[in-house]
Amino acid sequence: MKKEKSFSFIEFYEKFGIIFILVIEFIIFSLASANFLTIDNLFLVGRQVSFTGIAAVGMTMVLLMGEIDISVGSILAFTGCLSAELVVRYHMPLAVVFVIIIGVSAVFGLVSGTLTTVFKIPSLICTLAMQIIIKGFTYLMTGGSSISGLTDSYKFLGQGFILGIIPFPLIIMVIAFICGYIVLNKTYIGRRIYAVGGNKEAARLSGIKTNKYVISTFVMSAVTAGIAGILMMARLGTGQPSIGSDFAMDVLTATVLGGVILQGGKGFVMNVMIGSFIIGILSNGLVMCGVLEYWQWIIKGVVFLFAVAMSNLNLISKKG
């Protein structure tokens, strides 16, 4: 088979087209607001997106499997409150709290994953149900009120800066994406995730335990949401049961903007980070420019549509 291996703009575009959207946002907002393009503000956005970003790493894996996880918002709230509870009420050290939270989130992921694979409950419905169940537990635990009294060392997780300027959660997000990149693109585990997501039957017949991999991605998604939960609680300085109702949709939007397709098997995790930033900068920029809330909604919707359509340009020209 002959192949002309020249630089292909289409291919480059398909892979990195999403960056253009980010650049356009930058240009527009820099022109529109004097305070937008400051180091301070950019790091601020960095912190704001890091929670969605961290959870988006796990969500990417779930979407690569052709599944979906709607429960991350509830997990965020639950782990946030639980960690506050553990810190404030039981004075547990940070490391222990971390281990417990990761354990608990992993159990949530395990349940969702098992229900999806073994009981064949479509993941959309399964995680939707998990979402309201976990919400129920959150409120049973907190009685609906927020939990305050965190010490500064805990708050550092959400509010602190490294080198005096880089927000701590942003660093965690970048680490999460790098780990996600290595796992998905460099290890055999990643190859198998793509394989199972691309064609489950083929993967099964190649001797891959598909269920194990699907469940693992749900665990990953829950764990990343759990970590986001701890950081979010630290950032708010309180455990808040009511957060997270739009979280799943934000994470999902970031992931899909990043080019991960819902059918599974296709997507590149580093673009998801860019997707998160597109959303974060848009929210920040619109507030900076003082756009009316109602118009903010409309603009956001239009930008999402535009962004996804742009990154699909090569598809659009195809027939059928």
């Binding site: 305070n35 009120s145 708010l236 049961p241 739009d246």
Partner: protein
């Protein structure tokens, strides 16, 4: 001919059944709150439960999910169908609830509602309204502006158009401050948020755009917590800054007490859980044909660093009124 606005299946024997209640545990009260996701409502429910504990009255609590009026309609309809003896409803939207509540009253179910909107024709009302709360916050803020900011201020309102109560409160403080300080001396900005994490994002961004903001007014404590963290983390000089909100929940009282930038939260003379307790007691009185309060009396107070100690000095008290207490003993 077969069309009507009322279901014709009526149980006529229902009324007799209702007049006589031998045992408090036979009484069913439906209590629909706006959304259990708000701390204020969660505390209200604490009061309901306390009352249930003490008297054995059965209280069925529901909420409007994400503040959805149609869910609340469904819940109240279910109460009616369940034949409860009284309905307490904290309306997300009073306009929306009107028809359904009328159905309840048509069936002789006494109804107690928030807000204070007499066009509903309810049996009893909550004695405060959102507008007044907003005004109270505005009053405190105005005093601060005059005192510390030479009567000039840049104000950031944090509210949401998704909730009627938020809109009312925001209207309350805006009008009050404009009246007291004069519109010309003020610059207003608004951001929207529906959760604490939302609030922190929007306030952070707004402060980046307007670092010279002096006053931040938030429609409830939950978002106030987000705004508080945003201000604290912005590194701005807060000596003359004013952050205030409504609800009077514990977490915020802590902040107010610690003499932070959180200067004020508007609350009631009673704790929220107490309100819940006495509010449901009031309804039980109606059911039992006793004398009751209308409107249910609540004083609005602004809690600041000056009076927070005093405000918090007492423990919540859940004391049944004598006539009910007697019933319980029997």
């Amino acid at each position: 001919a077969g069309c009507s606005m009322d279901s014709t299946v009526q149980k006529d024997d229902k009324k007799e059944e209702k007049t006589k209640k031998e045992d408090l545990s036979e009484i069913n009260i439906g209590a629909s709150v706006m959304s259990l996701q708000h701390e204020f409502m969660a505390n209200l429910v604490v009061g309901y439960k306390e009352f249930k504990e003490q008297t054995g009255v059965n209280i069925i609590i529901t909420d409007g999910g994400n503040m959805e009026p149609d869910k609340q309609v469904t819940n109240v309809e279910n109460y009616i169908s369940q034949n409860v003896d009284g309905i307490l409803c904290q309306c997300i939207s009073v306009e929306t609830m009107k028809d359904t509540l009328k159905h309840a009253m048509d069936k002789d179910i006494p109804v107690g509602i928030y807000p204070y909107d007499t066009t509903v024709g309810a049996t009893t009302y909550f004695g405060y309204n959102e507008y007044e709360w907003g005004e109270k916050l505005g009053e405190t803020a105005s005093a601060w502006i005059k005192d510390k900011l030479d009567g000039k201020a840049k104000i950031l309102s944090v509210t949401t158009s998704l909730e009627e109560s938020a809109v009312e409160r925001c209207k309350g403080w805006t009008e009050k401050i404009n009246d007291t300080c004069g519109e010309d001396n003020l610059t207003w900005n608004t951001v929207e948020a529906t959760s604490a994490s939302d609030a922190i994002d929007s306030v952070e961004s707004a402060l980046q755009a307007n670092p010279d903001t002096d006053v931040v007014l938030v429609y409830n404590d939950e978002l106030g917590i987000g705004a508080y963290e945003a201000i604290k983390q912005s590194g701005l000089d807060t000596t003359n800054m004013f952050l205030g909100s409504c609800d009077g929940t514990d977490t915020v009282l802590d902040y107010v007490e610690s003499d932070s930038v959180y200067r004020c939260t508007v609350g009631n003379d009673k704790f929220v859980s107490e309100i819940g307790f006495y509010w449901v007691e009031n309804m039980v009185k109606i059911v039992l044909g006793m004398e009751y309060d209308d409107p249910f009396p609540i004083e609005t107070t602004a809690i600041t660093v000056d009076n927070v100690k005093e405000y918090r000095s007492r423990e919540p008290k859940y004391e049944l009124s004598p006539e009910i207490a007697e019933y319980v003993k029997e």
